[in-house]
């Protein structure tokens, strides 16, 4: 299996001494069996911008577990997207796909990147795009290029331009951080001396709901990432936790204990309009909306052990969803609504399992033993999770079919509570 470290430079991090040590790095610990061989030739004129665009594109595609980058031979002069392609030559190098491109400096000092994607087997052009960028948009542009190539070759949207949120604990300090999906370019949205848990992205990717203990008890906040403005969404008597956005972004489902026990309510993002969805004598928590907004899946111990149930989003009778095992928690619905990822305890090990909602088939996806907080990538292909390796909290990712595995670590501190953000709408 492919085993390789991808370590990226941090663009703006040089200014902050601690930022470099906080960098997430990603290790692929298991790869797909049939990875598509792709040759991405260094773009002509790429040296004008740093870091190199092509290396980021390659790393993105390889990390998906679906591609294998072929090291192209040195070609002089460097070919561009307009160059004639010698398909038999690339075929002999066992490339199925080929990307050629160029970087030009524009009169206003910005850059233009042009590239084309070729199907070597069919000897055809799959498509091409030009992007204009300034010096600090290199990483973002590389991720967009990777997304474009990924979509052309797999038919599904890439997630390289999406972002992830997670919490790093270092000594007494908790930081809610946002990073690119490859772990680079992290920024701290909130630093606190009290715990932060359960970040949840708003559907538009502009806000995060989370639980902060800064008032010495769990309180739900909604935090605008761009302005840093924070609003209390739920601070009632008792515990306030487990925020989940409705797909239209209008309301949050939360778990509140204000009326005794942990029960599921909905509330507007500004804390108004609180409404109880159902009442049970046991624990109800970890609500999450189905992508169509019709149902809320949640964890409940009403049957004697924690299991996953679902109910109509407006309230009503609950149906039990998980049956195997005595501890099934943290439900997350795949973006297509067809499967459910959750944490299952199997002989004392907490692992990510996936339930096919139609066939009721359960597949355990991980072989670690302290997994928590699964989170689907917005295209549904990967599941990000928190686990513990060598006594330290790390993030890890597994493909929804269980075949590709990645590990993301920071060089110091514990990382936990990952949440994969939505597609960015432009």
């Amino acid at each position: 299996m492919l085993k390789r470290w991808f370590q990226f430079l941090v663009l703006a991090a040089a200014a902050f001494a601690t930022a470099a040590s906080a960098q997430l790095s990603i290790e692929i610990t298991g790869g797909g069996a049939n990875r598509l061989p792709i040759a991405i030739v260094p773009f002509a004129g790429e040296g004008a911008i740093q870091p190199g665009i092509v290396s980021i594109v390659r790393a993105d595609l390889e990390r998906s577990g679906l591609f294998r980058a072929i090291e192209p031979p040195p070609i002089v002069p460097a070919p561009t997207e307009a160059s004639a392609v010698n398909f038999p030559e690339w075929r002999s190098r066992l490339a199925d796909a080929l990307v050629l491109g160029s970087v030009a400096v524009l009169p206003d000092g910005r850059f233009e990147v042009r590239f084309r994607v070729f199907d070597v087997v069919k000897q055809s052009v799959l498509g091409g795009v030009a992007y204009t960028l300034n010096r600090n948009q290199v990483r973002a542009t590389a991720h967009r290029i990777a997304d474009y190539i990924y979509e052309k070759l797999t038919g599904e949207k890439g997630v390289f331009s999406t972002r992830i949120a997670y919490v790093v604990k270092r000594g007494p300090r908790y930081e809610l951080q946002i990073a690119d999906a490859d772990g680079a370019g992290e920024e701290t949205a909130l630093a606190s001396l009290e715990p932060i848990i359960s970040p949840a992205w708003s559907p538009d990717g502009r806000r995060l709901a989370y639980v902060s203990f800064e008032q010495k008890k769990p309180v739900v906040y909604v935090h605008s990432l761009q302005t840093g403005q924070r609003q209390v969404a739920a601070n009632f008597k008792g515990s306030n936790s487990a925020p989940a956005w409705a797909p239209d972004g209008s309301r949050l489902a939360v778990a509140l204990s204000r009326e005794g026990g942990s029960q599921i309510f909905t509330v507007n993002a500004d804390g108004s309009g609180v409404r109880r969805l159902m009442s049970s004598s046991g624990i109800d928590t970890e609500p999450v909306y189905s992508p169509d907004g019709q149902f809320i899946y949640f964890t409940s111990d009403r049957g004697g052990s924690p299991q996953i149930y679902r109910m109509p989003a407006g309230g009503g009778d609950a149906q039990r969803v998980t049956f195997e095992g005595a501890y099934n928690v943290s439900p997350r619905i795949a973006p297509d609504g067809k499967s459910l990822a959750y944490i299952s305890r199997n002989s004392g090990k907490f692992q990510v399992a996936k339930l096919d909602l139609a066939s009721k088939q359960v597949q355990v996806l991980t072989d670690s033993d302290k997994d928590e907080s699964p989170s689907f990538s917005p295209n549904g292909r990967m599941i990000l999770l928190a686990t513990v390796i060598g006594g330290r909290g790390v993030l890890s990712a597994v493909s929804a079919d269980g075949r590709v595995k990645q590990r993301l670590t920071v060089s110091s501190g514990d990382v936990r509570e990952p949440a994969w953000g939505p597609f960015i709408r432009e």
Binding site: P218, G238, S239, S257, G260, I283, D284, T285, P306, R345
Partner: protein
Amino acid sequence: MRTIWISLAASALLSACAGSPADEQAGASVEDRKPGAVANQGAQTKPVPGGQVARVDLTQGKPPAGYSILKDPKSILSKRSVYFDLDSFTIKDEFKPLVEAHAKYLRENATAKVLIQGNTDERGSREYNLALGQKRADAMKKMLILLGAKEDQVESVSLGEEKPKALGSTEEAYSENRRDDILYGGEY
């Protein structure tokens, strides 16, 4: 217990007579009862006008600073933790005298308030553990109210697995962390 409180009241009274203004009583500590010690505390110390005596009211639930029955190691009220079995939120018999003592204190001190913090070990879902910790805190709250404390005297919250008292991933640490703590007003 009553005798201790009265002797405290007396000492507070003594220091009041010795010269610190009545409204500084809250800050006076028990050790400073010797007239000389108080006099040395600073130029701003003004003599108490005749006839003005610091009032210490034992019925108001706010004992004089420096001593609290709640922190007296000889009192069961200084014991604040109740421990739970795995996945359980049942208060075991061995902790009932402790809960009864706190319920009695709350009954007798109508303005006293407590915060019950429920905790869990680190295993499993953070959110589920938060809910489990809530159930543990609620179990204590229910028992206190059953024993005569008033609803508005008791708030129960959960810290889940977020504030482990014992670090490490051992059975020992786990059982230390499956716990309710009782905190009185001013302690949190």
